[in-house]
C-alpha cells in the first residue's frame, strides 16, 4: 500500500510556568492510503496535540521535533487538480506557514469533535465550503465553486444538498453539521484525514451513520485516516491498526484485533477492563489518575497505577518491544 504519512519520533514541547513539558514524546506511526489508524488515549494523553502538530496548528511557542513525512505519489481523491507540489515527499515538521497553507485542506484535512464550534455561525454552510475551495483556487469561477460545493455536500451524503448549502449551522442537526464539516474537509481532495473524536458529541444512532460515511469515503476515495478517540468500542469498529497513547508516548500498537483482543500493556488491559460493555460485568477501574506532565514519574509513566509493576519499572521508560509481527508494547513484561 502507498504510504501517506510517516511520522518518526515526533515530539512537542511546551514552555509552562512549571517548566518545559512534552505532551507528545517520540511518537512514530505510519498511515497508508485507504487505511484507518486509530489513536486511543484519555484526556491529557497528547492525542489532540499530536494532531495539531501534524496540521501545523500548535499554539505559538510550541517546539516540534522529529519528522512527519507526507506523501509519495499523487493521490486520486476528490475533484481538484493536483497541487503543484504534490508527489514530493515533504516533512511537515519545520514547514513554513506559507507552504503549510497549501498542505492544509489540500493534502491533509481535519475534522473536530464539536462541529458547532468549528463552523462559523454567521455563514451559510455552503459559503464555508466555498471559502475552503477558494482558499486554494482563488480564480475559480462562481459557477464552478458552486458546483464543487454541491458535489462536496453530496459526497458527504447530505440530503437535499442545494437546500442545505443555503442554511446556517444552527439550522442543521448535529449529524448534518458533522457531514458539512466532512464535506468541507474533503472539498479540496486531501488524501489524509485527521478525525479528532468526530462522533463523541453525537447520539449513538447518528454516530453510527457518520462512522459508516467515513468508512465509505475511506474506501471510495482511498483516504488515509487518523482516527482519534477515547472510545475503544468506536476504534474497534473503524480502525485496522491501533496505537494507544499514554502521557505523550505510544505504549502499545498493532493490528486492532490483536491490541484490543490480546492487549499486552497493562494500561491497554486496564482501559478495556474499565470500559462498560453491554453485558453487565464487574467494572475494574484503573486506580489513580493520569499523571501531570509536569510531574511525570521517573520510569514508566504508568508505573504508579500499574497492578503488575516491578522494581525495574521505576528505573526507566521501557522501549516498545515486539510482541508478534506488528504488535508491540512498551512494557518490561513483554
Amino acid at each position: 500500500m502507498q504510504q501517506l504519512l510517516d511520522v518518526r519520533g515526533l515530539t512537542v514541547e511546551l514552555a509552562t510556568a512549571a517548566g518545559v513539558v512534552r505532551p507528545v514524546d517520540g511518537v512514530s506511526l505510519r498511515i497508508a492510503a485507504g487505511e484507518t489508524v486509530g489513536l486511543v488515549g484519555e484526556s491529557g494523553s497528547g492525542k489532540t496535540m499530536l494532531a495539531l502538530a501534524l496540521m501545523g496548528l500548535l499554539p505559538t511557542g510550541a517546539r516540534v521535533g522529529g519528522e512527519a513525512w507526507l506523501g509519495g505519489e499523487a493521490g486520486a481523491a476528490g475533484g481538484a487538480s493536483p497541487a503543484p507540489t504534490e508527489g514530493v515527499r515533504r516533512n511537515l515538521v519545520g514547514m513554513g506557514e506559507r507552504e503549510l497553507r497549501g498542505v492544509r485542506g489540500r493534502e491533509v484535512a481535519m475534522i473536530f469533535q464539536e462541529p458547532m464550534t468549528s463552523l462559523n455561525p454567521v455563514l451559510r454552510a455552503g459559503e464555508q465550503i466555498a471559502e475552503a475551495i477558494r482558499a486554494h483556487e482563488p480564480g475559480l469561477p462562481r459557477a464552478e465553486v458552486r458546483r464543487r460545493v454541491i458535489a462536496a455536500l453530496e459526497r458527504a451524503a447530505v440530503p437535499e444538498a442545494g437546500e442545505r448549502a443555503r442554511q446556517y449551522p444552527h439550522q442543521l442537526s448535529g449529524g448534518l453539521r458533522q457531514r458539512v464539516m466532512i464535506a468541507m474537509a474533503l472539498a479540496c481532495g486531501p488524501r489524509l484525514l485527521i478525525a479528532d473524536e468526530p462522533t463523541t458529541a453525537l447520539d449513538v444512532t447518528v454516530q453510527r451513520q457518520i462512522l459508516d460515511l467515513l468508512d465509505e469515503l475511506r474506501r471510495g476515495l482511498g483516504l488515509g485516516m487518523l482516527f482519534i478517540t477515547h472510545d475503544l468500542g468506536v476504534v474497534a469498529r473503524v480502525a485496522e491498526r491501533v496505537a494507544v497513547l499514554y502521557a505523550g508516548r505510544i505504549v502499545e500498537e498493532g493490528p486492532a484485533r490483536e491490541v484490543l483482543g490480546r492487549p499486552r500493556h497493562p494500561y491497554t488491559q486496564g482501559l478495556l477492563a474499565a470500559s462498560p460493555r453491554m453485558e453487565r460485568g464487574k467494572l475494574e477501574p484503573i486506580p489513580g489518575t493520569v499523571p501531570r506532565l509536569t510531574a511525570l514519574p521517573p520510569g514508566c509513566a504508568f508505573e504508579p497505577r500499574c497492578s503488575q509493576r516491578r522494581a525495574e519499572c521505576a528505573a526507566g521508560m521501557p522501549e516498545l518491544r515486539a510482541v508478534t509481527g506488528e504488535h508491540a508494547a512498551r512494557c518490561v513484561l513483554v
Binding site: D203, T205, R208, L271, A274, P276, P285, P287
Partner: protein, 266 residues
C-alpha cells in the same frame, strides 16, 4: 398508587413548551411536548435508568421529579406524599430527601467556594442549627467516604481533576442523607478509567446507604452496569420499560433495537 416499597410514583407526567415562541413569533400556539405522559414507579433501593438520545425529554423529566421545573399535568408521590402539590416548608422538607448529581463537574461547582463550603452548604441551609465543628466533621467524613483526602476541604474546585470533582459533587448530594439521587449523565464527561471509578463508587454508596437512583444516560453500556430497570425514552414517552438485562439483551421495541444495534461493540 401508594405501595410502601415505592419511593416514587409518577403518573401521566407532562410538560410542553411553546415551539418557536416568544414575543415576536407569528401564529403561536404550537406546542412541543418535551415529556408527554410518562408514568413509572421507583422502588426503594433500585436503580431505574432512563435512556434516550438528545432531546428525548429525559433531563426535563428528571428536573420535574426534583421540582426544579413544574409539570403541566400528572401526579407524583414521594414516599406516599403528594410531591406536585407540596409547597413551602413541605416542599423544603421533601427536597432534602432528594438530591441531584450533575453531568459536568466543571460547571456545577462554584469556583469561588472552598470544597468544604460547597459540600457543607446543604447542611448550612437545611441543618442551620448544627454547630460549625460538627458540620466540618460531617463534611470531612463524607469527603473521606467518596475517596477524597480531608485537606480537600480547604481547596478550590479548579485544583481537582474531573473525576475528583465528580466525587465532590456526589459528596454534596449525599451530605443530607437523601433517599433519592437523580444522576444526570454522571460519568459521560469523564475518561473511561475515571468513569468506571465513579460508577463503582455510586454502586457502593447505594448499597451502603440504601439509596434509590434515577439514572439518566444516553449510554447503554453505562446503563448496563448500574441499572436494575431500564426505561427507553423517545420523543417524550417511554417506548419500553423492563428489567435491565431484558431490555438490553432482548429489546422488543424497534427503537430500542436500533439503539442497541448502534452501540459500537468493543
Amino acid at each position: 398508587m401508594g405501595t410502601a416499597e415505592n419511593l416514587l410514583e409518577v403518573r401521566g407526567l407532562k410538560k410542553s413548551y411553546a415551539r418557536g415562541g416568544g414575543v415576536f413569533a407569528e401564529g403561536g400556539g404550537v406546542r412541543f411536548a418535551a415529556v408527554d405522559g410518562v408514568s413509572f414507579d421507583l422502588a426503594r433501593g433500585e436503580t431505574l435508568a432512563i435512556v434516550g438520545e438528545s432531546g428525548c425529554g429525559k433531563t426535563t423529566l428528571a428536573r420535574m421529579v426534583l421540582r426544579l421545573i413544574e409539570a403541566d399535568a400528572g401526579e407524583m408521590r414521594f414516599a406516599g406524599e403528594d410531591l406536585r402539590a407540596a409547597g413551602g416548608e413541605k416542599l423544603r422538607a421533601l427536597r432534602r430527601r432528594m438530591q441531584m448529581v450533575f453531568q459536568d463537574p466543571f460547571a456545577s461547582l462554584n469556583p469561588r467556594m472552598r470544597i468544604g463550603e460547597i459540600v457543607g452548604e446543604p447542611l448550612a441551609i437545611h441543618e442551620a442549627r448544627l454547630a460549625s465543628g460538627e458540620r466540618r466533621e460531617r463534611v470531612a467524613a463524607m469527603l473521606g467516604r467518596v475517596g477524597l483526602e480531608a485537606d480537600a476541604m480547604r481547596r478550590y474546585a479548579h485544583e481537582f481533576s474531573g473525576g475528583q470533582r465528580q466525587r465532590i459533587g456526589i459528596a454534596r448530594a449525599l451530605i443530607l442523607r437523601p433517599q433519592l439521587v437523580v444522576a444526570d449523565e454522571p460519568v459521560s464527561a469523564l475518561d473511561v478509567s475515571v468513569g468506571a471509578q465513579v460508577l463503582l463508587l455510586l454502586q457502593e454508596l447505594q448499597s451502603e446507604l440504601g439509596l434509590t437512583y434515577l439514572f439518566i444516560s444516553h449510554s447503554l453500556p453505562v446503563v448496563a452496569q448500574i441499572a436494575t430497570r431500564v426505561a427507553v425514552m423517545r420523543a417524550g414517552r417511554f417506548v419500553e420499560v423492563g428489567a435491565a438485562e431484558q431490555v438490553l439483551a432482548r429489546p422488543e421495541h424497534a427503537y430500542t433495537k436500533e439503539l442497541v444495534a448502534a452501540v459500537p461493540a468493543g
